[in-house]
């Protein structure tokens, strides 16, 4: 009879109860949703944070050169499924001769860039072929680049200052290349061929950067060039070689370049390639001042496969990341790894704040639900004063009045919790997909937990209304309206 009365009360007095049920249901939905998201959030946040960029850098160790093999070795220290992306970078200055300007160019692997730098926003497309360039927004604005524009970029090898001494290169028959700063800062390039005895057999001068009518003549002046033939390096200006009149500085540079010349490398001379712009890059950061080209083009330009840095995005907690970094740094002397601390640390602090936020919202929702249910039940009690009086007149004890209203409340809690548990998961799923772009797994404990919490809330909300109900005087049923 108890159940029959309660269910009849709920079923045949739908509208009122629907409001209470709805408030409990919505409360439970939001709670279940929040809790689901909250449980899933560390995983989500990890993925989310990695989308703000790489969390590990692999760099060449002091005094060594890193190439792609070195990077591949380093990657072996991390389980492949945890590596979201690994993007190599090589930075050089490239000249745009037509505008007499130079820009920083980054050679990279475009297939990896979106994985480690998902915040790159591109108008157009990533380059897919060689001879294509992705231009930073600021550069594009400065020189008026658009998708489809073409540009010529030149790589100027820097003046030789490397450790390998020119003496070691002066073996008989060697082909040497060198350069030195000439008039007005322009670089003078030389190619030297040695004969079987180690003396100069041939000399070619590229003085394109010098004033044509003065220093520029060094490249053509037979008399000047002839002075070098048959001489053994190093040479001294004024003793072995006389300066070309009117081009003392350039002559001095030529002698220096010859003396510093070493075995020719492919790129000892400037290389120029023509590129087509496929996209304009916006990041809000310094990347907007770079030109991005493929590693293949970078190799063609510079003649080397050297890498300056590789950005890694690894899906692992902070401690594990540190372990990986250590393993990579210790394994071989060639590369070292370090963590991008800013991202990993902010991940932890944001999670903390999120926990507090979820807690706060939960509290507020609980409170609002309680107020709503309590108000509805209060209205229900005053609406049913007559009935309560009747029940008491018929002999209902305070206990049975309490039990009936509590029973209704708990029943509402049960239904609301069930509804909330299911809808909450749907809600969490929707939020997760829309905000984090990932689906979440159903927590089997969620349903009983949502029901329990809803029932407790409903019971608590009923306390005051029940007190009112118990206080109803049975005598009210005796007289009129």
């Amino acid at each position: 009879m108890f159940l029959r009365m309660i269910t009849a009360s709920l079923l045949r007095r739908r509208s009122r109860m629907l409001i209470a049920l709805l408030s409990i249901g919505i409360g439970a939905t939001i709670l279940a949703g929040l809790v689901t998201i909250y449980v899933d959030v560390p995983r989500q946040m990890g993925a989310q944070f990695r989308s703000y960029g790489a969390n590990m850098l692999v760099l060449p160790a002091e005094g060594t050169v890193m190439e792609r093999d070195g990077l591949a070795d380093a990657l072996e220290k991390i389980p492949p499924d945890e590596v979201i992306g690994a993007t190599p970078y090589r930075y050089v200055r490239l000249d745009m001769t037509s505008r007499q300007q130079s820009f920083t160019a980054a050679g990279t692997d475009f297939s990896q860039v979106p994985k480690t730098s998902p915040y790159f926003s591109i108008e157009g497309n990533y380059p897919e072929h060689t001879r294509e360039v992705l231009a930073g927004k600021k550069i594009a604005e400065t020189i008026g680049l658009k998708t489809g524009s073409t540009m010529e970029l030149t790589y100027q090898p820097a003046a030789r200052t490397e450790a390998v001494s020119p003496e070691d290169s002066r073996v008989p028959g060697a082909e040497l290349a060198g350069n030195a700063e000439g008039f007005g800062g322009g670089i003078v390039y030389v190619s030297v061929k040695l004969d079987d005895h180690g003396a100069v057999a041939a000399l070619e001068i590229d003085a394109g950067t010098q004033t044509p009518e003065y220093g520029g003549r060094t490249a053509e002046d037979e008399g000047f060039l002839g002075q070098f033939i048959g001489k053994t390096l190093p040479l001294t200006l004024g003793e072995d070689v006389d300066a070309l009149s009117g081009a003392t500085v350039t002559s001095e540079a030529v002698v220096q370049a010859v003396n510093s010349a070493r075995k020719a490398e492919k790129a000892a001379k400037p290389q120029t390639l023509s590129f087509t712009v496929t996209g304009i890059l916006t990041t809000g950061g310094e990347e907007e001042e770079y030109l991005f080209i493929s590693l293949e083009d970078m190799k063609t330009l510079t003649g080397s496969e050297q890498l300056d840095v590789a950005e890694l995005s690894v899906s692992a907690p902070a401690e594990q990341l540190e372990a990986y970094a250590e393993a990579i740094s210790q394994e071989n002397g060639a590369v070292r790894a370090r963590l991008v601390k800013r991202v990993t640390r902010s991940e932890a602090s944001v999670l903390e704040k999120l926990t507090a936020l979820v807690f706060l919202v939960t509290l507020v929702v609980l409170l609002l639900t309680m107020i709503c249910v309590s108000t509805t039940m209060m209205a229900v009690v005053s609406e049913r004063r007559r009935e309560i009086g009747l029940r008491k007149a018929l002999g209902a004890s305070d206990g049975s009045i309490r039990a009936e209203f509590l029973g209704e409340g708990l029943f509402l809690g049960l239904l609301g919790g069930l509804m909330g548990g299911i809808l909450g998961f749907v809600f969490a799923q929707a939020v997760s997909v829309n905000v984090f772009g990932a689906s979440i797994t159903f927590q089997p404990l969620l349903l009983p937990a949502a029901i329990l919490v809803s029932m407790v809330i409903a019971a608590l909300s009923c306390l005051l209304p029940i007190k009112r109900a118990v206080a109803v005087d049975p005598a009210i049923v005796l007289k009129g309206e």
């Binding site: 009879m1 009365m5 045949r12 009747l390 018929l394 002999g395 004890s397």
Partner: protein, 224 residues
């Protein structure tokens, strides 16, 4: 044998004496009507007899027990066990069917028994309407359900407050016939009314005025 005895009871609200030194004696099996204009103290007397209020002074003996000093919890128990109530406004639980309304009374008293509840409805001629909600029943039918509800627990006393006040004549007669049958079966009836016709159906009429018993009329024609 005496079922109810009011001994010099008064009910005083501040200055107002709702009941002023009233004494009344009702025997087992008696059918008594209480009449009087509004403000005469009818309702107060009804509340006290119905164990829903206590007198300021005096004693109320119901079935030999003084109920004037009992706690409200004890009064609830006494009301449930000994008294069946019938109201002017019928007062059915509007989301329960006729038979369920009868069963509510059983539920608070002891155990709900649908078969017994249906038999009670049969006695008031509403067996066919047992599954209807109050909104689907006429006023007369609702009051008959309330009579069935009042007698379901075999109370010592049936206390009716203006039972026909909201009924047309045909239904009034049906209800009075039911009362007559209950009286024949030995049930004690106290009916509060201002309708002389209803009062005349009783054996004895008590007339209240200004909180006192003004007069008592024995119905010579009773049973004829």
């Amino acid at each position: 044998m005496s079922l109810l005895e009011l001994k010099n009871i008064s009910k005083i609200y501040g200055e107002l004496k709702a009941l002023d030194n009233v004494s009344l004696h009702v025997d087992q099996g008696e059918w008594v009507a209480i009449m009087g204009p509004s403000g005469s103290g009818k309702s107060t007397m009804m509340n006290i007899i119905g164990c829903m209020d206590k007198p300021t002074k005096g004693e109320v003996l119901l079935d030999g027990v003084d109920i004037s000093r009992e706690s409200s919890k004890a009064l609830t128990d006494i009301r449930r066990d000994k008294i069946g109530l019938i109201f002017q406004q019928f007062h059915m639980v509007n989301y329960l069917t006729a038979v369920e309304n009868v069963m509510v009374s059983q539920y608070y008293h002891s155990m709900p028994d649908e078969k017994e509840a249906l038999e009670a409805l049969e006695r008031v001629g509403l067996r066919e309407r047992a599954r209807h909600l109050p909104s689907q029943l006429s006023g007369g039918e609702q009051q008959r359900v309330c009579v069935a509800r009042a007698l379901i627990n075999h109370p010592e006393l049936i206390l009716a407050d203006e039972p026909t006040g909201n009924l047309d004549e045909a239904n009034e007669n049906i209800v009075l016939d039911l009362f007559a049958r209950l009286h024949q079966e030995g049930t004690t009836l106290i009916v509060v009314t201002h309708d002389p016709e209803v009062a005349e159906a009783a054996q004895r009429t008590i007339v209240l005025e200004h909180g006192r018993i003004a007069r008592e009329v024995i119905n010579e024609n009773f049973g004829k």
